[in-house]
Subunit: 318 residues, 2 copies
């Protein structure tokens, strides 16, 4: 395999950490005896559902927004997103005092639309296809001069997402493995850079729904294979793996595993009931990977990044 | 008003704290910008929904179970409860390695019955009236010789419940007020003893559903007025104020306020959506008291004890 220097570097991630520290929450880590008993290992949950805007996405958006020069910043920032990234960009822009323009699909969960509006962003709705999002975004950018902040295919965003693993390994330096869900791949790639830099022998594993297994297939084949509108309940993972994350993941990640829809629903409910915290379906994906023994974790100490807690309470999967 | 020495004393609570420390979680405190903005004050949530068994009840039950002599303990413990106290007694008994006998109403939430069974307790079901519970319990006790642990009318239980406020005031010594829900009154009375001992000028306020306002009416009239099978959504607060808690509350608590069912539902959902944590309807009662300005909290720093997170996910109020 060709080894090229990774971008962002671990140094970029440390700089991002210093920059976003005063805006982002240092989220707590939680443990659960019921979960450990069922999994047969010790699991440390890094609870980004308690992050600002309720998701890790704030880290990347915040780093991107605050990295802009004053001149760039004054024209604002723009993005397309079905949810958490949109909220994250909107809040980070509000904090910097600049405009945010957000393109959202018409079928985005109500709670997410409401939240983005609540942070003062200007929303443009479009059809729920990747193409419609991209063309609508282009129009918005050319009209406003705003800087596009991609949800994952962006060095600054990946650097921001990598900061969660720094905190997790500060709290638990003895982890044997870190698992994250993988959608666009920003979190998994950022996590892999931090984790392998801080602890070269740690395993970093991505978990994905069977119904949106493009990262799994891309990782196996060495070629990026996009997925078309997958119908998984894990709405945060419906997106295809990005180019930049893919290049990092192929060099840095040990394994990508997939789990079934039924298992995702069951694990999600298990965490709600046993840990009394609200997690999105996406977060349940690595939990399922552990419960279903898709990874070798017996007796190990495993970190799982709980990515977010923004759920439409009128539309629960049970 | 006649001033009699309170039982338990603050010393009893400190002893309880030393005793249960190695069994109970030191629960985290959470804050939320959305909540503070809406309330117009700074709110510190003491998150007993992250306590063992998912509720503060573990503190009192644990103190009661571990206070028993070896001779008493070997015959086991017994209680009647619609839920959290039953789980708490069952787990504490399991930890001490003694039998637990639990009388539960037939209509108790499934999730709670399952949990009590999971801790190895023997369950006897009865009709859903106070009388049926008490007579069934008497039978169980006379048959087994087990020690009855009352959910709230018990010095050891109240002492255990008072330990949450010790931790809360250790983390935030500058609170102006502490609010708790009030059902049987164990938490409110224990909290009032700890809080007033540690900080004599602090206000301690109980919050109750309008539909189960016996504590409110008892507090006003100076006479204990029981409530008959109230239909509030806050199932943890359907019970009547106990005799011992009443005697403490009349001497020690500054105010009891009531809130509507609609407000409870709305506050519950607000906390779920904004804080991504699962709280029972009972916990939303003091939150409603603050949101509905039932107490004078503008600009103050207020502690709220979040009592539990055991919710039947198949039966949500929205």
């Amino acid at each position: 395999m060709k080894i090229t220097p990774l971008s962002p570097t671990f140094d970029d991630i440390k700089k991002a950490y210093a920059l976003i520290k005063k805006y982002a929450n240092r989220t707590p880590v939680f443990t659960s005896r019921s979960v450990d008993e069922r999994a047969g290992c010790k699991i440390i949950f890094k609870c980004e559902n308690f992050q600002r805007v309720g998701a890790f996405k704030f880290r990347g958006a915040c780093n991107a927004v605050f990295s802009l020069s004053d001149e760039e910043a004054q024209k604002g920032v723009a993005t397309h997103s079905s949810g958490n990234h949109a909220q994250a960009v909107a809040l980070a822009a509000k904090m910097r005092g600049i405009p945010a323009y957000v393109v959202m699909p018409e079928n985005a969960p109500k709670i997410k639309v409401k939240a983005v509006k609540g942070y003062g962003a200007k929303i443009t709705f479009c059809e729920s296809t990747q193409q419609a999002r991209e063309s609508t975004l282009e129009e918005v950018v050319s009209k406003t001069g705003a800087t596009f902040i991609h949800p994952y295919d962006d060095t600054r965003v990946i650097a921001g997402q990598g900061t969660a693993a720094i905190e997790l390994l500060e709290d638990h330096p003895d982890l044997d493995m870190i698992l994250t869900p993988v959608g666009g791949g920003g979190l998994l790639s950022g996590t892999s850079i931090s984790a392998k830099s801080l602890k070269p022998d740690i395993k970093v594993v991505g978990a994905e729904p069977e119904m949106a297994d493009d990262a799994f297939r891309s990782f196996k084949s060495g070629q990026r294979i996009p997925v078309q509108n997958p119908d998984t309940i894990a709405d945060g993972l419906r997106t295809s793996l990005g180019e930049l994350p893919f290049s990092i993941i192929t060099q840095n990640v040990d394994e990508i595993v997939t789990v079934s829809e039924d298992s995702i629903k069951e694990s999600m409910r298990f965490i709600w009931e046993r840990m009394n915290m609200i997690i999105e379906a996406s977060c349940a994906v690595p939990v399922s990977a552990v419960f279903d023994e898709k990874v070798d974790i017996k007796g190990k100490k495993v970190g799982i990044i709980i990515t977010g807690g923004n759920v439409d309470l009128d539309n629960l999967p049970w």
